[in-house]
């Protein structure tokens, strides 16, 4: 019909007639929707108003009266309408009003000023939402299980789920068992056996506890104002974190926040408003921190908090210079590796790798069954980790426990043995690598007189020389997969003072063994399943509805597929996240960017304050707490209490962590209480095709399962309400609601080719069929090893970053794996902290720092937590707290756990489950001790990312019993020329805690 209308509308006369019909049709559509949908009928009764639709030149129009729930209309121009919708011409009006809705046409008309809207924001916004509701009236979603019991779907940081709802309350949350209509799984045949994953999704512990978090007593159900905060008088900044709160109305809260946004801009100029998010938000493509949040803040102009490449540190600042992989933050790509590993590999070395704890990332227990297949095939396993981790505990194998931040010495000794005993791939090194000889000479001691022998490494790592030699011989004679990190890359040793050199050494070892040859690759079965990478569905890093082409991966695919009004932050100022306290307290800091586009992106130092911008005066915090997740975090507490911050607002779901440092608290709802759409473990962008951790690609409609609790609202709604007060609600929402954005995103994917919106909305998920065997992706680095053009399905590196020919070789200048890094030679060849080839340095905080080590003789490591995910799942009365290996109940309080070797415990008269004070010069945390053999003497283990911050005295200056171990970790970056985090280089002492 639309095509016909377009043809007819070429005649101006016909267009005017058609317009008359269509405008009348609007009324009919309203009446019909009100007749079939009680909710819509109720909506129409909310307001009495007059809405004028007219052409720009006022020659034609029709206005609609909404009176007591009834819609009447009349042709012509009303003298004083409440809301006016203005079309550039009859043709434009027809294009936009005749179904199906064409979002690109709408946006184009808006950009060309051919579509406009006049009236108070409250009314224009209400009218647009009402139009949207009309179009969605009668929409059915979810499955009826039995009378009164409906099953919805949702998605989380730890897997996709069914949500059973009865009487408006969530009854249960389960993994998704596929039904007979869902696509069959893939099968890999290897060594006479066949391997097929179960037809279901797995879920993480922090996902199974959502019911306890949704209905947590720590939910913020109403807007709150700090009792001694007065935006027109005394702000009492020093009392942040101390004073209590009083309930206020949404109207008052929004007026204060919008008023402060205007005031701060008026008083200080651009840059005075800073916004930062937690490391992760609740899962989704639209309500995520890279989506609605950016769309809002780009409209007000903001100093952004620049994220460090947290979790990837050493891969990004170090390994990237050897092999590129910048689009993966320096970590390797992983296509086809599951099948290759099962078929070819003879040994797997897990080095600082505990996927059973970290789920790779986002992927629940999807990789677990595949690692069990390694056991089934009898493939020998080695685990190198200061902690006898959960992957080692489940799968068994040889455990080697180096002292924290030393294991790059072990790597150098392995290379030394390979050279001495000629156990490396000389042909590959000659043809596919660059600069081996200088590094070989360094290993042999020709440069510094110290051969990097197994005996040499023993002094650093504590691993017996004979075992280092045995490992080198096994590795040098067996086709070996190296799982370095919980994903390929990610976590553990790469987040220490020597994290760069460790990640660099991992690349160099694999280069010596022929990376990409059959059975020789990176990964521990966590990534690289044979799923369909050719089916388009975006991940969260593709920016959702952000409109932000500069700061998300929106421009790659999604922007074309889901046309939207682009948004631009006009404020160039940034604050490095790890230096927020210095920016606020000292007014001066600097950082280096996380820019995955190219290797050189990380060299562009930025300073704060940026030229011409105001220092930050207002902090709009959103999402999880930095006190549990950043470094030396008593600094953050002190920053909050500074008068330099005139206003702090926290938009949060739970009253936890740093929420209590805000002046105004805006209550957000969980993702179970709003609409969203997403895919299991698909983050897109920096971990392109990250869903290849999963056994099945599962696209999920995140149903609005229940109404928001209390007065909480979705982030989108909160931002929209503020946008109304700041004059950009139409640009923020584009006149549509959250469910419409879901539909728009659905239309942008490949889903409409295989399932209708109606069916998807009802069933809630779609399993993307696995490709046939010939269509499975090739193995990563195989083409590189064989000097063929890159054949894995990613535009990474970007075309300009190839040297000889697009798709030939790697991103490095030589196109090869570089033992001597040309990027570092160009940038700063004399940097003693990051030499052009990888070398061993002792940690700047560790056994070699004698003064400190004398006082604090225990090396604390704090990897990513197992049962919680950043601050998700911990605290807030979540059931995770009751897991005996997460927190321990002592005297009625659940304490965070520190794990200590039995010898170290005995020397300190510490018994299992005793309360202890873990401390150093930066602060103290009260923990419960777990006495164990899972760490060697001298090393202590805890997890990072407690959600609770609970100082027993003055905030920022007293021991925390909430478990924020990052109070203890150093804020010093791994190397000066980086924005990085070295949490696993941390000296502490532990003593029995007898206090209250």
């Amino acid at each position: 019909m639309k095509t016909l209308v377009k043809i007819l509308a070429k005649s101006a006369a016909l267009a005017n007639i058609l317009l008359f019909v269509v405008l009348y049709g609007v009324k009919i559509a309203f009446t019909a929707a009100a007749a079939r949908d009680a909710a819509f009928k109720k909506r129409l009764a909310e307001k009495n108003l007059t809405v004028q639709f007219r052409l720009k030149d006022r020659t034609r129009g029709r206005y609609y009266f909404l009176r007591d729930g009834k819609l009447l209309s009349r042709g012509g121009i009303h003298p004083d309408p409440d809301v006016t919708i203005i079309f550039g011409s009859a043709m434009v009006a027809l294009d936009l009003l005749v179904p199906p809705r064409d979002q690109l046409a709408t946006i184009n008309a808006m950009k060309n000023f051919q579509l406009g809207m006049e009236g108070p924001e409250e009314l224009t916004s209400w009218w647009m939402e009402t139009l949207s509701m009309m179009q969605n009236s009668g929409m059915e979603y979810g499955t009826e299980v039995s009378p009164g019991l409906r099953r919805y779907t949702s998605n989380t940081n730890g897997g996709a789920v069914f949500v059973y709802v009865k009487d408006g309350k969530i009854l249960r949350i389960t993994p998704i068992d596929f039904d007979e209509k869902d696509a069959p799984p893939w099968t890999i045949y290897a060594r006479g056996k066949s391997f097929t994953p179960p037809r279901r999704t797995t879920v993480s512990p922090h996902t199974l506890v959502f019911k306890s978090m949704i209905y947590s007593p720590d939910r913020i159900l109403y807007p709150l104002k700090r009792v001694d905060f007065d935006q027109n008088g005394n702000r009492n900044c020093q009392n942040r974190g101390i004073s209590g709160y009083v309930r206020i109305s949404w109207g008052e809260a929004l007026d204060i926040v919008a008023g402060e946004i205007k005031r701060v801009k008026r008083d200080h100029g651009p840059g005075a408003i800073m916004n930062g998010s937690g490391s992760h938000h609740l899962w989704g493509n639209l309500g995520y921190w890279l989506s609605a949040r950016l769309r809002f803040f780009n409209h007000i102009g903001w100093t952004s908090v620049a994220h460090n490449p947290d979790s990837w540190e050493g891969w990004y600042w170090g390994a990237m210079h050897h092999w590129g992989q910048s689009m993966h933050l320096g970590a390797p790509e992983s296509y086809g590796t599951v099948e290759d590993c099962l078929k070819e590999c003879e040994m797997v070395v897990f080095w600082s790798s505990d996927p059973e704890a970290t789920s790779g990332v986002y992927a629940a227990f999807e990789g677990t069954v595949r690692r069990q297949w390694l056991n089934e095939l009898g493939i020998p396993l080695v685990h190198i980790d200061p902690f006898y981790n959960h992957t080692a505990a489940l799968l068994g194998g040889k455990w080697l426990a180096p002292r924290p931040a030393t294991s790059n010495a072990l790597a150098l000794a392995i290379a030394y043995v390979w050279i001495q005993e000629e156990l490396y791939d000389k042909d590959y090194v000659a043809k596919r690598t660059h600069g081996f000889e200088p590094w070989r000479d360094y290993l042999l001691g020709k440069e510094d007189g110290i051969p990097k022998t197994p005996e040499w490494q023993e002094k650093e790592t504590g691993i017996p020389a004979r075992e280092a030699r045995a490992l080198a011989r096994q590795w040098g004679t067996k086709k070996t997969y190296l799982a370095a990190g919980g994903l390929s890359g990610f976590g553990g040793a790469c987040r220490s003072a020597t994290g760069n050199e460790w990640a660099r050494a991992m690349v160099c070892l694999m280069a010596m063994q022929g990376l990409g040859k059959p059975g020789v690759n990176m990964g521990g079965m966590q990534q690289g399943t044979p799923i369909d990478t050719g089916f388009y569905f975006p991940g969260y890093a593709e920016g959702g509805l952000s409109g932000d082409i500069a700061k998300t991966a929106l421009g790659v695919s999604l922007y074309n597929r889901m046309p939207q009004i682009p948004t631009v932050n006009t404020v160039y100022q940034q604050v490095p996240r790890l230096q927020i306290p210095e920016a606020i307290l000292e007014g001066r800091t600097s950082g280096y960017p996380t820019d995955p586009k190219t290797i050189e992106g990380q060299f562009f130092r930025f300073d704060y304050p940026a030229p011409g911008y105001s220092p930050v005066r207002m902090y709009y915090k959103y999402g999880g707490s930095h006190i549990g997740t950043m470094a030396e975090t008593n600094r953050y507490v002190k920053a909050y209490q500074s008068e330099n911050l005139e206003f702090v607002v926290n938009q949060s779901i739970w009253f936890e962590g740093e929420t209590k440092f805000a002046d105004i608290i805006l209550p957000a709802c969980t993702s179970f209480e709003r609409w969203d759409i997403s895919e299991f473990a698909n983050c897109g962008g920096y971990i392109q095709h990250s869903f290849n951790q999963c056994n099945h690609r599962v696209a999920i409609m995140q149903h609005k399962c229940i109404e928001p609790l209390g007065e909480s609202r979705s982030d989108f709604q909160i931002f929209l309400e503020l946008a109304k007060r700041l004059g950009f609600s139409a640009m923020f929402s584009e006149g549509v609601t959250e469910i419409d954005w879901c539909r728009r995103l659905f239309d942008a994917t490949d889903l409409p080719k295989v399932i209708s919106w109606k069916k998807f909305l009802k069933k809630g998920y779609y399993v993307v069929p696995a490709p046939t065997v010939p269509l499975r992706d090739p193995v990563s680095f195989r083409a590189f090893a064989e000097d063929r053009l890159k054949d894995t399905p990613e535009i990474a590196p970007l075309p300009a970053d190839y040297t000889e020919q697009v798709f030939r070789g790697l991103q490095t200048q030589s196109g090869k794996i570089e033992f001597v890094c040309s990027s570092l030679q160009r940038y700063d060849p004399d940097d003693p902290e990051r030499p052009v080839m990888t070398k061993y340095f002792p940690s700047w905080e560790g056994p070699h720092t004698a003064d400190l080590y004398g006082k604090y003789p225990l090396q604390l490591i704090t990897p990513h937590p197992r049962y919680s995910f950043h601050t998700m799942g911990d605290g807030k009365h979540s059931w995770v707290n009751e897991i005996g290996d997460h927190r321990i109940l002592v005297n009625g309080y659940r304490y965070w756990i520190v794990r200590i070797n039995s010898n170290d415990a005995a020397a300190r008269h510490i018994n299992n489950h005793d309360l202890v004070r873990v401390f150093n010069g930066r602060g103290a945390v009260i923990c419960a001790a777990q006495v164990t053999e899972r760490v060697p003497p001298g090393t202590v283990h805890s997890y990072e990312s407690a959600a609770t911050y609970d100082p027993i005295g003055e905030p920022g200056a007293s021991p925390d019993r909430g478990g924020c171990m990052n109070i203890l970790t150093p804020s010093r970056p791994m190397i000066k020329k980086s924005h990085s985090f070295a949490a696993n280089s941390c000296l502490v002492e532990i003593e029995k805690w007898e206090g209250q």
Partner: protein
């Protein structure tokens, strides 16, 4: 009559706690009349996960044993209950009647495994129901089995006459058989939890002083009577490990033979799992 057979494989349990958490999700705040009253939000859980670390750094392993109600054939709780408040159904599920059992605290102490918990708020003994309210309504898995990622928990329906064959064929055992309760829940690889190991490393010193792992050394474990208990060969790291030994089983002798070196004899006293150290030959 078909029986529900829950099998727990200790070797596959990694202490992820999904069983514990899904049990809470199903039962906290949810009332299943005729099956169970709501589980308390914080506090006594219906499935315990017992953990055991064996050995000493650096030769250790870890095992976990999820322990729900064992749905015993000779369930002592049935006898302890008044008014038939606890009953065993024909399909093997033992249920505490949430109405009749009110106030009957003695049911809690009747269970030798501690699987019955006292709900203070409701004054009610409570325990795992094997999600009977779901199984009776078409579910084929309990919540814990559904959420288990490793296959450590599995549930099926078997004919009672086939049970003995399954137990023998799959080497199933019951937990603490001495208690004579005839549990209906079975375990695999229980020895990972109940037995101990004796391990160690074998190494040699070369003429230049360097140490090497002794790969392929023959290690013989000899009992107090002089009888050979087991034999093993050291792996690529010179390590050996004899498993499934009884705790406190007394004196053993290790006889280590490597290449043409003279045999090395090591005497050990085994109380619990032991890393006997590095033995140079």
């Amino acid at each position: 009559m078909k029986k529900w057979l829950l099998v727990i494989d200790v070797e596959k349990c990694e202490n992820c706690n999904n069983c514990f958490l899904s049990c809470k999700d199903e039962h906290v705040d949810n009332d299943w009349p005729g099956y169970a009253a709501p589980q308390p939000g914080q506090g006594p859980s219906w499935i315990a996960i017992l953990g055991k670390e064996r050995g000493q750094y650096p030769l250790i392993d870890v095992a976990y044993l999820p322990r729900p109600c064992l749905h015993c054939y000779n369930a002592p709780c049935i006898g302890a209950a008044k008014d038939s408040a606890v009953a065993r159904r024909p399909d093997g599920i033992v249920l505490i009647d949430p109405v009749k059992a009110k106030g009957q605290k003695q049911i809690v102490s009747a269970c030798p495994y501690g699987a019955i918990r006292w709900n203070e708020l409701l004054a009610l003994p409570q325990k795992c129901t094997l999600c009977a309210h779901l199984l009776d309504n078409g579910w084929t898995k309990t919540r814990c089995v559904q959420a288990c990622p490793t296959g450590a928990l599995s549930l099926r329906r078997v004919e009672e006459k086939d049970l003995q064959g399954i137990i023998a064929g799959e080497q199933l055992e019951v937990y603490e058989p001495d208690r004579m309760t005839s549990p209906g829940v079975y375990y695999r690889h229980l020895k990972r939890f109940t037995c101990c190991f004796l391990g160690g490393s074998v190494a040699t010193k070369l003429d230049d002083g360097r140490e090497e792992c002794a790969v392929g050394a023959r290690v013989t474990l000899i009992g107090a009577t002089g009888a050979v208990v087991a034999e093993s060969t050291t792996n690529a790291f010179g390590d050996f490990k004899f498993d499934h030994l009884e705790e406190n089983s007394g004196r053993y002798t290790l006889r280590i033979v490597y290449a043409n070196r003279p045999p090395k004899i090591v005497a050990v006293e085994l109380r619990t799992s032991l890393h006997s150290g590095v033995h140079f030959v």
